[in-house]
Symmetry: C2
Subunit: 115 residues, 2 copies
Amino acid sequence: MPVAASPLSDTADRKVADLAKALAHPARLRILRLLLATPGCIGGDIVDAVGLAQSTVSEHLRILKAAGVISGEISGPRVCYALNPDALALLADFVASLKVPDSALCCIPNPKAAP
Amino acid sequence: MPVAASPLSDTADRKVADLAKALAHPARLRILRLLLATPGCIGGDIVDAVGLAQSTVSEHLRILKAAGVISGEISGPRVCYALNPDALALLADFVASLKVPDSALCCIPNPKAAP
DNA sequence: TTCGTTTATCGTCGATTTACGATTGATAGC
DNA sequence: GCTATCAATCGTAAATCGACGATAAACGAA
């Protein structure tokens, strides 16, 4: 048994990967930035800002909502989107966990040197 | 001019999105976890650990390397991979920037109430 | 009710991703 | 030289993604 990943992190990996996938598109990042920078409610203004078709933006919003990164609240004829910053905690934890303390960064070229 | 995203963040968005895409797969997260947990050098052991074909694992390694998240050093007949934690700084910054200070989280349903 | 506005969904297309086996290239040892 | 091993690359097939126009649904206002 050479190396083994903890089986516990199997589902966690999927969740983190889903969060990362939600952020893996410039248009979605721009939407998140927009939501962060806009104090009030924005609806169709998002469409103008990202420069894509309304249906495309709606799809991106759906993906972000499915990942839990944003939440949409119906407010009259329009929908109000708000950031859900806590939803990214798992991803943030993973990224932070990779901040290795400057050890384990080198190579042991000898294959049989593994005590 | 209702809302406007800063045009400066346009290329930054692409970079962050590319980093997020590199993390957007459970196998790649597992590889990163493996590299973090393994003090020395691991080559083909990664293949056993993730349970995918050697060519598939090699492709994931290529993606991680292209994103700068890992670096591979040839060491004799095998290749030694090491984490590149600083490469994720942009992504970490973005995630951290979404930690809005508990304001701007509500909805202004009235579209014409924007002083 | 009817009209205009806003958002969601559907269908479709091309591009990208993921996975695999097979092959190639490089290296250590005989 | 030859052989074995490890990693990268080459096709290739299935699945997913991203974008669009067209359409539908929900709501407020006239």
